[in-house]
């Protein structure tokens, strides 16, 4: 009994530094991986902004794209909006949860619609897009609101637009100012 105790005590004494070392290495690795995630994985950007992401979706399943993106010309301190068509060409649904731009720190997802004869505009916490679905972001409907841009946005200029998705995917594009279809 004593021997056992002794032996246990010996093992314990020997393994303690090893355990501590393993713990330290694990924490270091974890921190390193965490830092790597922050640099490489877009969902860290969402986590920073307090948004929930669903990292269960593999990167190979990120199949969302936008086309025909443009932003409305305006002057610094006024209002603008960005428009595009969002496609989900994959087989997994996703949700647009946030947007950002170099034109303003304040960028929101909004929806305009008519209700009882009044034109209403509401901020949207997210816009879900199903597999194989396409959603137009167009005047009078969904749009990315660029609030009081810090720069003049003239026809022919370009701004950056980043769209953050629940899956962790980020679409980063440079979009033109002015409607090309006009």
């Amino acid at each position: 009994m004593n021997n056992q105790r002794h032996s246990f005590s010996l093992v314990s004494t020997r393994t303690m530094p090893l355990n501590l070392l393993l713990l330290f290495v694990s924490i270091s690795l974890g921190l390193m991986l965490g830092c790597t995630n922050k640099l490489d994985r877009p969902d860290s950007a969402l986590a920073e902004q307090g948004r929930l992401t669903d990292s269960s979706m593999a990167k190979s399943e990120w199949n969302i794209a936008i086309e025909d993106a443009w932003a409305r010309p305006t002057k610094a301190g006024m209002m603008s909006a960005a428009y595009f068509t969002m496609y989900n060409v994959g087989s997994v649904s996703d949700s647009l949860v946030q947007a950002s731009s170099n034109a303003s720190k304040d960028v929101q997802i909004h929806l305009s619609y008519m209700n009882d004869g009044i034109m209403v505009m509401e901020e949207q916490p997210f816009v879900a897009i199903q597999a194989s679905e396409q959603i137009p972001f167009q005047p009078g409907g969904y749009h990315i609101m660029i609030i009081q841009p810090t720069m003049d946005m003239q026809e022919g200029d370009s701004i950056s637009l980043s769209l953050y998705f629940k899956s962790g995917m980020i679409i980063e594009e440079t979009i033109q100012v002015g409607n090309p279809a006009k």
């Binding site: 002057k75 909006a81 720190k105 909004h110 009044i118 505009m121 005047p139 609030i147 009081q148």
Partner: protein, 205 residues
């Protein structure tokens, strides 16, 4: 048979006359628009984007006026209304006898200076004016043209700015030279310029 035929002739003649009279009456009434609102009941003192005083409707008597209702912090719908005003003016060939107005229902933020910048953004013609005024006067004006507004959302942005948005009526109206509102359409719809141009062309000719 012959008797019936003889009797039928006067009847068909009368029917033809009635039908032609109906057609003539209809064509004569084509340009008659029902008065929606008579704006002569009141007078509104407003200012334009250059801080020039404007008395509505007196200053516009004798001219057709196409007017939309906007606020400059509106990023989506009001630009459509403004662009429709611009398109109507362009499609009519920039007529000197038709005035174009964008009236703000957000006078607290839409000062003449802000409206001046808004006008520059849209590169609108000289003959388009944006109006604002004292809040009570603007509210009274909006009531008279049945333009409704309500604060929809007041929020503090990520950068700490407090902003608010307005739900609002979506209208473009035409006032005739007598100061009567005779046409009223949804302001932001893409089909509106064509309809208003057709109406105005039939009225002006």
């Amino acid at each position: 048979m012959n008797a019936n035929s003889t009797l039928a002739k006067p009847y068909s003649f009368v029917l033809t006359i009635i039908f032609l009279s109906f057609l003539l009456t209809q064509s004569a009434c084509m340009n008659d628009y029902k008065v929606i609102d008579d704006m002569n009941d009141a007078s509104f003192e407003l200012v334009n984007q250059d801080s020039v005083r404007v008395i509505f409707p007196e200053d516009f008597r004798g001219q057709y006026v196409v007017m939309g209702f906007v606020y400059t912090n509106c990023p989506d719908i009001c630009p459509l209304i403004t662009q429709n005003l611009i398109k109507i003016q362009k499609d009519l060939g920039y007529p000197s006898n038709v005035q174009f107005l964008g009236v703000s229902f957000d006078p607290l933020r839409d000062t003449p200076e802000v409206l001046h910048r808004y006008k520059e953004v849209f590169k609108v013609d000289e003959n388009v004016n944006f109006l604002t005024g004292e809040p009570k006067m603007v509210q009274s004006f909006m009531d008279s043209v049945r333009v409704r507004t309500q604060e929809s959302m007041r929020t503090t942005t990520d950068s700490g700015k407090e902003i608010y948005f307005l739900n609002h009526s979506d209208k473009i109206m035409v006032m005739n030279p007598k100061g009567e509102i005779i046409i009223e359409y949804g302001g932001s719809m893409p089909s509106i310029p064509t309809l208003i141009v057709q109406d105005l062309q039939s009225l002006i000719q």
